[in-house]
């Protein structure tokens, strides 16, 4: 049997966050325009396992997929056992900017899903000069939480419920029925293998701190192209929400992905490529026009 090695390499990088040195894990493949990929809440960079191996993408883009602190193979801060993890907008942005700085990424195209699809909007609003463009997957202004009630997510972090099984059961409901079983269950495995309290802590950003309903979406799409792709089976960040965002940002691109749920890059990568490819081609064209 011949051995097939992926052209993907994994690395660790030390990054200073909130005065502490955190060891972050990331994978990369390809050459060209930097494409930074941000995973969803309660999961990790494995969600992009097929995207980072796609030859069309890696022939034109340098794909970089980090695990957030507390997630995947990235470390939590020291003393994690005495802290409650709660992701804030500032923490999230600081991590992304620090990671980009550590790798000296020059104006990457930043693609994020779910919480990542929200934070790319924050990123474009706060740090437009540092990025080349954004792709929001399953972006939404909010998660429909009108009152602060973190106890609603206690079932994801209590001693007498297996958080991995519980997260798997709930996240299964965000995957489209048409998605292939192997990718469905790989996606759910990532949820089954998260650290205690991490998914709930991410939902603090998703449901409360990262809420964008009352903010002006001041993004200049001439400087920072905005692409929004949303799956029709996602009831948590429904496609109508992303469409509304696109209407509020002049020049933004929106496409509803049929037969797709909340995890397009992971639950059905082949189908997702049908939607992502024209976006990546358009971005190359725009970037070429801008530098000409």
């Amino acid at each position: 049997m011949s051995v097939v090695l992926d052209d993907v390499t994994g690395h660790y990088v030390q990054v200073e966050l909130n005065g502490e040195i955190i060891r972050l894990y990331y994978e990369e493949a390809g050459q060209g325009i930097p494409l930074l990929c941000l995973h969803t809440a309660g999961s990790d960079g494995r969600q992009y396992r097929e995207i980072i191996r796609n030859e069309f993408i890696t022939s034109k883009y340098r794909v970089i997929v980090p695990d957030m602190p507390w997630h995947g193979k990235s470390s939590p801060p020291s003393g994690w056992q005495e802290r409650e993890y709660r992701l804030s907008t500032d923490d999230y942005l600081n991590y992304i900017i620090a990671f980009m700085g550590a790798l000296e990424l020059d104006k990457p195209l930043v693609m994020g899903c779910s919480i990542g699809g929200r934070v790319v909007l924050h990123l474009a609003m706060a740090h437009q000069d540092k990025i080349g463009g954004i792709i929001g997957l399953q972006s939404g202004l909010d998660a429909g939480a009108d009152e602060y009630a973190p106890e609603n997510f206690n079932h994801f972090n209590r001693h007498d419920i297996h958080a991995g099984h519980c997260a798997t059961g709930w996240m299964a409901a965000l995957i489209a029925p048409q998605s292939p079983d192997n990718h469905r269950w790989e996606t759910l495995w990532h949820y089954a293998s998260g650290g205690p309290g991490v998914f709930k802590g991410d939902l603090h950003f998703y449901s409360y701190d990262g809420d964008l309903r009352n903010q002006a979406l001041n993004i200049d799409t001439q400087q920072c192209p905005v692409y929004l792709l949303s799956g029709e089976y996602d009831w948590s960040a429904p496609a109508a929400g992303a469409e509304e965002i696109a209407q509020r940002i002049p020049g933004a691109y929106f496409k509803k992905m049929l037969a797709m749920g909340h995890f397009p890059m992971s639950e059905n990568p082949d189908k997702f490529m049908e939607y992502l490819t024209p976006v990546l081609e358009d971005y190359i064209k725009k970037r070429g026009n801008a530098s000409a």
């Binding site: 419920i161 099984h165 059961g169 709930w170 409901a173 009831w235």
Partner: protein, 122 residues
């Protein structure tokens, strides 16, 4: 006879049995006013009847909602048990903790039940 076949089918399902190895409760699917109650003991379905017990929990929805759930390709919001719950198409009554503590058992039970319903229609 159909009920006995469904019990056999559920008890022959290794995934359901594995999820339920320490799980004993009552789960009822309520369709409008019709009850389908499953008595569960250590993951094994001991009996199915139409009496709503005071114990465990029930998952209550309209016939229309359950019919959508049972379609070959269900529409968005109706395709998975937790999607039905989160979007208010069904309501959980009874012991919420018991439901949350083993949502994978509930998911698998409903999956097998759905397959049996699809089989009835074809």
């Amino acid at each position: 006879m159909e009920i006995l076949m469904l019990i056999d089918q559920m008890n022959a399902d290794e995934v359901l049995r594995r999820h339920g190895v320490c799980y004993s409760t009552d789960i009822s699917i309520v369709i409008d006013d019709d009850v389908c109650h499953f008595e569960i003991d250590q993951g094994e379905v001991k009996k199915i009847d139409s009496i709503l017990p005071d114990t465990g929990f029930s998952i209550n929805g309209s016939r229309q909602a359950w019919e959508k759930f049972c379609e070959d390709i269900p529409p968005p919001e109706f395709h998975e048990p937790a999607a039905l719950i989160a979007n208010g198409h069904v309501v959980i009554k009874g012991d919420m903790y018991t439901m949350q503590s083993n949502i994978m058992y509930l998911r698998r039970l409903l999956e097998i039940w759905r397959e049996s319903k699809r089989g009835e229609e074809s």
